[in-house]
């Protein structure tokens, strides 16, 4: 490569500006309806009995349709977490104003872990095994964001 020998006089900046419209599917729609009632719904696999949140129709392991709806949470346990020092904004790393906690939460009754933000506890005090509870938006808006975050239980 010989960048030094060549003076770059033009670069083409090419934005792609378009929108994809997805049907989220009946499972995520039902999940959102549940959140609108401040309930967290999962689905159970008839094959290996795992309870998956957020719900989806197909179990990869069993190649079965998961069709039994189960209410889980609203409390759970932090199984894993990281303390974020940055945000990713369209792929660019930006320093976060304050450090925050991103956790994998095992909701009571669920098998899978739910990625979530945890507020109301300092990043130095958070630990695996900590009990947390879901905090919903008030009023709810029938959207995924209705499940706002988790905070320490009790």
């Amino acid at each position: 490569m010989s960048a030094q020998q060549e003076r770059i006089v033009a670069t083409a900046v090419v934005p792609l500006d378009f929108t994809y419209n997805y049907r989220v599917g009946q499972y995520v729609e039902r999940y959102i309806k549940g959140l609108g009632q401040k309930k967290i719904m999962g689905v159970k696999c008839p094959g290996d009995a795992s309870v998956i949140v957020p719900p989806r129709k197909y179990c990869g392991r069993c190649n079965e349709i998961m069709n039994e709806w189960v209410e889980v949470g609203p409390e759970g346990t932090i199984e894993n977490f990281t303390i974020a020092h940055v945000n990713l904004n369209k792929g660019v790393v930006e320093k976060a104003d304050t450090e925050y906690i991103v956790a994998l939460v095992k909701l009571d009754g669920a098998t899978s872990l739910l990625p979530a933000k945890v507020l109301g506890v300092s990043p130095v005090d958070v630990e695996v095994g900590m009990r947390v509870k879901a905090v919903f938006k008030d009023p709810v808006e029938d959207s995924l964001e209705d499940l706002s975050h988790f905070e320490p239980a009790g």
Partner: protein, 384 residues
């Protein structure tokens, strides 16, 4: 395998800035490789190109790659996943008996054209994870690192030691875009946290680059080179996308990919039978997870491997003498580069990073969040 297939030669180019247009990078690389081997594009029966539409920014990314790679009017196809899959498909084409000579070329411009972290954002499930903005390449990686630490009692310092070793090795690699000859764990510790325990120097550097390789049937390979590198086995395995449903501390799919490759290659004790390994790790912490899954080290042994220098150049099982993904990470072609690095080792062309007497090498590739999809190729200096 049912037919002897060998890698004839490899070529690489890497940079960390917008130096030259993609087409010229590919033309110079591939033409240079043809010249080195003493053939022209007319000697190639099949072309497999590897790049990512989303990253390149137009559908059928290879449209403008065919011509500089010499594929005009040729039998050509394209692979979007990591470049090792392109190498595996190329091998399968040769195994079919319908091709005798093939070219595989992977490229990416993650340093200049597009942001790799954004490519990963657009791998997220669009109707859920992408809506919430909690998961991204760095947060998922940090959670995987934490999972390994929690399961095996590993320390952040173990990962910093791995990163330092890779940065030192990268200083011996002419293709590396980031290196530090005297790197220590302290240097890594002094770099900023992104998501704990990920520190900047333990993450892959954005890289523009390409890798090209000529493969051939046994007879043809021996006509083209004195040192064919034989493909003894290959395998791959894909885990679930959902990080909340995986044991992130281990890689079942890397283990299965390895087992499939080892079975073909007749390898029963990888730690003994493999002389050098090139593992695709985007972050230092991934190296122990993957190399342990591949049977190169005992499960959960990152601390011991680092303190005893087992994976060092002079260690019992050298891993990434090239510096691996921490020296340069050609997004979408990193696994192909790992194969190329094994070729350099087995041809005795690795210079100061040469593992003396290396006869059998392992190359690994990954794709997806937390290495969801894994591929393995086993290469050897010995035919048959």
């Amino acid at each position: 395998m049912q037919r002897d297939i060998a890698i004839v030669a490899q070529a690489q180019v890497m940079t960390d800035s917008l130096d030259i247009p993609r087409e010229r990078m590919l033309f110079d690389l591939v033409k240079g490789l043809f010249d080195k081997v003493g053939i022209t594009r007319h000697d190639i029966d099949g072309f497999v190109l590897n790049s990512n539409d989303f990253e390149v920014g137009h559908t059928i990314a290879n449209v403008f790659e065919d011509t500089p790679c010499g594929a005009y009017m040729k039998d050509e196809t394209h692979v979007e996943a990591d470049g090792m899959w392109a190498a595996q498909y190329t091998t399968m084409r040769l195994l079919s008996g319908n091709y005798d000579t093939a070219l595989v070329v992977g490229n990416s411009s993650g340093a200049s054209t597009f942001r790799p972290y954004l490519v990963m954002d657009y791998q997220l499930n669009p109707t859920y994870d992408r809506q919430l903005g909690i998961l991204n390449e760095l947060s998922t990686a940090a959670l995987q690192a934490r999972a390994y630490m929690a399961k095996y009692g590993a320390e952040e310092d173990d990962f910093n030691e791995i990163a330092a070793r890779l940065l030192r090795n990268a200083a011996l690699n002419p293709y590396a875009v980031r290196s530090k000859a005297d790197a220590t764990a302290g240097d890594v510790l002094a770099s900023d946290y992104l998501y704990e325990p990920l520190r900047q120097l333990a993450c892959y550097p954005f890289t523009d680059g390409a890798c090209a390789m000529i493969l051939a049937s046994g007879k043809r390979a021996k006509e083209l080179t004195d040192k064919p590198v034989w493909i003894k086995g290959m395998g791959n395995s894909v885990d679930t996308y959902y990080v909340g449903e995986r044991d992130l501390a281990t890689s079942k799919s890397a283990r299965m990919a390895g087992e499939r490759a080892y079975k073909l290659a007749g390898i029963s004790n990888p730690a003994k039978q493999i002389d050098v390994a090139e593992v695709s790790a985007k972050f230092a912490y991934q190296e122990p997870i993957i190399s342990e899954a591949l049977g190169l080290f005992k499960e959960g042994s990152a601390g011991k491997v680092a303190s005893k220098g087992l994976a060092d150049l002079g260690g019992s099982m050298p891993v990434c003498p090239s510096g691996g993904g921490l020296g340069a990470y050609v997004f979408t072609a990193n696994g192909l580069v790992r194969v190329a690095e094994c070729v350099r080792q087995l041809k005795g062309e690795a210079g100061e990073a040469q593992v003396s007497g290396a006869k059998t090498a392992l190359a690994h590739s990954q794709d997806g969040f937390c290495a969801q999809h894994n591929g393995v190729m086993v290469l050897s200096t010995e035919e048959g």
